[in-house]
């Protein structure tokens, strides 16, 4: 009986191993969708800088964040419209929760989005939220420990590296980006 069963399984498997007749246009459909999700060319990803989030760094950056927000609030009336941009990304919860706040000070912006390899550079995936009248935009993104490249998109058209992070060198097109490393 096992012999019969083995033979039956062999015959069934042989039949099922025959090529399936798929739509010849399937490859084209797949590639059309892939192209629609195509990665943004590395226009501004050349030799990015990294800053590491460490326990001491967290404290320093938290203090810097407080100073930036306080200073920005005081200075907002003296800024020329649309000119001043201050931001930071920090990871105060990285030791426990990996919730990373991103802050951009852009009082003239109508919209700000966060784009990075953690959201496939999707310009609609992670919008920042304006906080009151101070001109600060914020969003908190849960990120596991790792290294991430990111930038901000202002008003859907202007790409900007995080001014609160060490500046990455410009690439061939003069548009730098930032790199964040979330520690454990």
């Amino acid at each position: 009986m096992p012999e019969f069963e083995d033979e039956l399984v062999r015959r069934v498997a042989a039949e099922l191993k025959r090529p399936a007749a798929l739509d010849p246009a399937l490859d084209a459909r797949i590639m059309a969708e892939v192209r629609a999700h195509a990665r943004r060319p590395r226009l501004w990803l050349l030799r990015p800088h990294t800053f590491r989030v460490t326990p001491l760094g967290i404290l320093a950056r938290a203090a810097a964040l407080a100073a930036i927000v306080a200073g920005a609030t005081l200075a907002v009336s003296r800024l020329r419209p649309g000119e001043a941009v201050v931001s930071t990304a920090s990871a105060p919860e990285a030791l426990t929760a990996s919730a990373v706040p991103f802050v951009l000070y852009a009082p003239r912006a109508r919209s700000v989005a966060l784009v990075g390899d953690f959201n496939n550079w999707d310009t609609r995936a992670t919008p920042l939220r304006r906080t009151g009248a101070s001109g600060a935009w914020v969003v908190t993104v849960p990120l596991p420990p790792g290294r991430y490249r990111y930038a901000f998109l202002i008003d859907g058209t202007r790409w900007l590296a995080d001014p609160g992070a060490p500046r990455a060198p410009d690439d061939d097109f003069g548009t730098p980006n930032s790199v964040l490393t979330v520690g454990t």
Partner: protein, 186 residues
């Protein structure tokens, strides 16, 4: 062909090209794996439209998550794992939807399977029987006997225990034996 120049490249080389921004290199991976994925999805889901949806979704998800492919030289296994999961999801979502009949069952039962000329009926009988397995048995049978994976590979791919997978394959074989023996006796 849109993937000219990819035929001689390894999976890892193509993955690197795609990650570097050469989206057209992905067509080489599509051409390389579409038949294997399509065959599994077709038998697993039981109809062509669902199978092609699953294959398309698997390729697109793999592309979008390509940076998470930790071993580009094993892209095929990684992609296949995505497909298995897509088939589970799609199969679950559409389990109650009317399946496309694979054959007229009455006709199958009178088919003379001893005649090689009736091979088409034999193929339909197999698909008919396969459709009567549980989704878990069908998946396990296909991975073991059609994709020729080891139980260790199956466990890694599905997240199931090896003993559970062995039991599913055993039950699937038993069920197929009963179902197809009836067909052959008719």
């Amino acid at each position: 062909m849109g993937h000219t120049g990819t035929e001689g490249d390894s999976d890892a080389a193509l993955v690197r090209r795609v990650l570097a921004g050469d989206v057209e290199a992905y067509a080489g991976l599509v051409a390389r794996y579409r038949d294997r994925l399509g065959r599994f999805a077709l038998h697993r889901l039981g109809n062509q439209a669902d199978a092609e949806d699953a294959v398309q979704e698997a390729f697109v998800r793999a592309y979008r998550g390509l940076e998470g492919c930790e071993a580009p030289e094993r892209f095929g296994a990684w992609l296949f794992q995505i497909l298995v999961n897509r088939c589970r999801t799609i199969g679950g979502q559409r389990a109650r939807r009317e399946r496309v009949a694979t054959a007229n069952e009455a006709a199958l039962l009178v088919a003379d399977m001893a005649h090689p000329a009736d091979r088409q009926a034999w193929g339909e009988a197999i698909r008919w029987a396969l459709d009567r397995l549980t989704p878990e048995q069908r998946e396990a049978f296909l991975l073991k006997h059609v994709e020729d994976l080891s139980y260790e590979q199956m466990a890694e791919m599905t997240g199931e225990g090896i003993s559970a997978l062995k039991m599913r394959v055993k039950r699937a074989c038993e069920a197929l034996r009963v179902l197809l023996t009836e067909v052959e006796r008719a």
